[in-house]
């Protein structure tokens, strides 16, 4: 799960991690007011107007402006609020900016990079730090990987002082900044573990003119599996406008759905089978419209809902249902498919491949429904057929 920068910073503040002073603004007027307030509080005219979207690279895309005075902040807010921001992480369609964060400007001596993530290979929380802050870290990793320092936190022991020293000396920090960095890092590790993060990234982490270390940016992603431990907080941090409505709707039914660019809808059970169904559609020259894993324990209602989401999609020109029933029973899927088409109608070709538990019952339900269904015996045959039918109909 992703959250906004301003939300991540409020979480940082809860753990005592220094961030610049900032205020959320949902309108241009609010942005101006926020700037005035910050200027009065800090005595400095410099404020930063930052677009809040769930993607990085906002500065480069024109979503972050450093300005002097409240009027200039208002002008910047006018420019950014409502714009469609395109960054290397949003994809070409970009994201509409609906929230702004107005922040105090700081005097920056050095920009650095700091991130925590789960390292699958060492099975530890990895801490990565670099003197190359404020730029795309992917680029640094590719071009000058030696500039990224790494230490790994043992889950049984936690962060050790020698690891902090390794990073602090490696970053070439002054004595005062080292102390400030050590405090920040220890709190960030606490936050990462206690809040079940999958990523906590600060880019840039800055050393101010006073040699204090401050999180100028903040990114936090949570491990979706840990939602049961943080239900209230995470619920309050969710911004549904940042997610595809179909994905949000599917989540309500415990379905794993991802919207894609193609025109062949798929309904599959199991993540591996769902992924490889997409791959097979592509293999035969088609483009999948979605990833959908109805899982093992999906109810008839959930399958009906899932199939409805696909039926209602305007871009879908054909649908492929591919089920290898293990826990999932073929007759439940068949009933769900029939129910959904009864309510919404079937206007595009439908290919169904059923295999596994209760396959005969499932096939019977489909046959008796009177729907125009093309049956397939294998995944490859089904994919090839639906690609051909979708092309013929388009």
């Amino acid at each position: 799960m992703k959250i906004h920068e301003y939300q991540a910073k409020s979480l940082y503040q809860k753990y005592g991690i220094p961030t610049p002073k900032g205020i959320l603004a949902l309108s241009i007027a609010e942005a101006k007011e926020a700037a005035k307030k910050l200027i009065a509080e800090t005595g400095s005219e410099v404020v930063v107007v930052k677009a809040q979207i769930h993607a990085g690279g906002r500065g480069k895309g024109g979503g972050v402006k450093v300005v002097k005075g409240a009027d200039a902040a208002e002008a910047a807010a006018k420019e950014i609020l409502g714009m469609t921001l395109v960054t290397h992480q949003t994809g070409p369609e970009g994201k509409e900016v609906q929230r702004l964060y107005i922040e105090q400007g700081l005097e920056i001596a050095t920009e650095m990079y700091l991130a925590l993530a789960i390292d699958r290979e060492s099975r530890r929380v990895a801490i990565m730090a670099s003197t190359e802050g404020g730029v795309e870290i992917e680029k640094v990793a590719e071009e000058t990987p030696e500039k990224i320092l790494k230490v790994f936190v043992d889950p049984a022991i936690g962060l050790m002082p020698y690891q902090t020293r390794q990073l602090a000396f490696g970053l070439g920090l002054s004595k005062k900044a080292q102390k400030s960095f050590a405090k920040l890092l220890s709190k960030l590790v606490d936050l990462f573990v206690a809040e079940d993060c999958s990523i906590a990234e600060i880019n840039p982490l800055v050393v101010t003119g006073d040699e204090d270390v401050v999180a100028l940016d903040a990114k936090v992603n949570f491990d979706d599996n840990a939602e049961f431990r943080h239900r209230d907080l995470w619920e309050s941090l969710k911004d549904l406008s940042e997610e595809a409505p179909t994905e949000t709707e599917a989540k309500k039914y415990d379905l794993s759905f991802i919207q894609l660019d193609g025109n062949i809808g798929c309904l599959v059970n199991g993540a591996g089978l769902a992924m490889s169904t997409m791959d097979t559609i592509k293999h035969f020259g088609g483009e999948p419209a979605n990833f959908l894993d109805v899982g093992g324990g999906a109810t008839e209602e959930a399958v009906t809902k899932a199939f409805g989401i696909i039926l209602e999609s305007k871009s879908v020109r054909g649908i492929f249902v591919n089920i290898f029933g293990g826990i999932m029973q073929c007759d439940i899927v068949a009933t769900g498919v029939v129910n959904a088409t009864r309510n919404l109608g079937l206007k595009v070709p439908l290919v169904v491949r059923l295999e596994g538990t209760n396959v005969e019952e499932g096939k019977k339900i489909l046959a008796e429904s009177g729907l125009a269904i093309t049956a397939a015996d294998t995944m490859a045959e089904g994919a090839e057929t639906i690609v051909a039918l979708a092309k013929a109909g388009a």
Binding site: I258, G272, S276, K282, G296, G356
Partner: protein, 296 residues
Amino acid sequence: MSIFVNADTRLLVQGITGSAGSFHATQMLEYGTQIVAGVTPGRGGQRWNDHAPIYDTVREAAEKEGVNASVIFVPPPFAADAILEAADAGIELIICITEGIPVMDMLKVRRVLDTQTRSRLIGPNCPGVITPGTKDKPGCKIGIMPAKVHLPGRMGVVSKSGTLTYEAVGQLTALGIGQSTAVGVGGDPINGTDFIDVLSRFQEDPDTDGVIMIGEIGGNAEELAAAWIKDNFTKPIAGFIAGRTAPPGKRMGHAGAIISGGKGTADAKIAALEEAGVKVAPTPSDMGTTLASLLS
């Protein structure tokens, strides 16, 4: 004959009175698996379906019933605890079916398991392990896989994905090629047993003649396995990697199936496997025939 499980395996079911636990315990029992005990805290002293005694703790079940394997059907908030309870009781094989365990919990579980060699964890978020059997020569099914598609024989299957395992097994069976053991290692980023652990057992197993290995996007377990295969694995091996068309940065159903920072792509994994001499099937429908083509 098989790896990890066989007709002599004495199985404990953790969470045996839950709906999933009870349903699958029944299926396993029907297949011929020896279910010797169940654990549900607070239900000790009762019996499950007039068959297996239920205990409050794993330790007690292990001591009284001579358990050497456990399968876990416990909900995610309690699954890490269940795994460690089984390990603490010295159970040799722990198979965790549960999907949705927080990564932070699995980091701790793995950290504890790495300090000992007695217990092996398979999963979590996996379909389990099956050594197919017949009426005359019983096998052992531990997990949630559909029993019907399996046929006893001499091919191994190892996979991150449940349904793709069924797919591979079903294709082999349709070709008349039986399986020695099929192992699901699970789709989570942190798990107990990886491809190399399973492949090394298949390599040593005199009754396994070839293997299908099924990976997916995310992490680098497939690349590590490829490097290992190149130097150590001498039997015919076919492969498949799911997720060629997956967009980066999206979790594709499995918690571990995500391409992040350009790492963990299907293309990189396929290249590594091919370089190691694994014959990679062009589509998932060709997994069985790809292995068959290596056997002649």
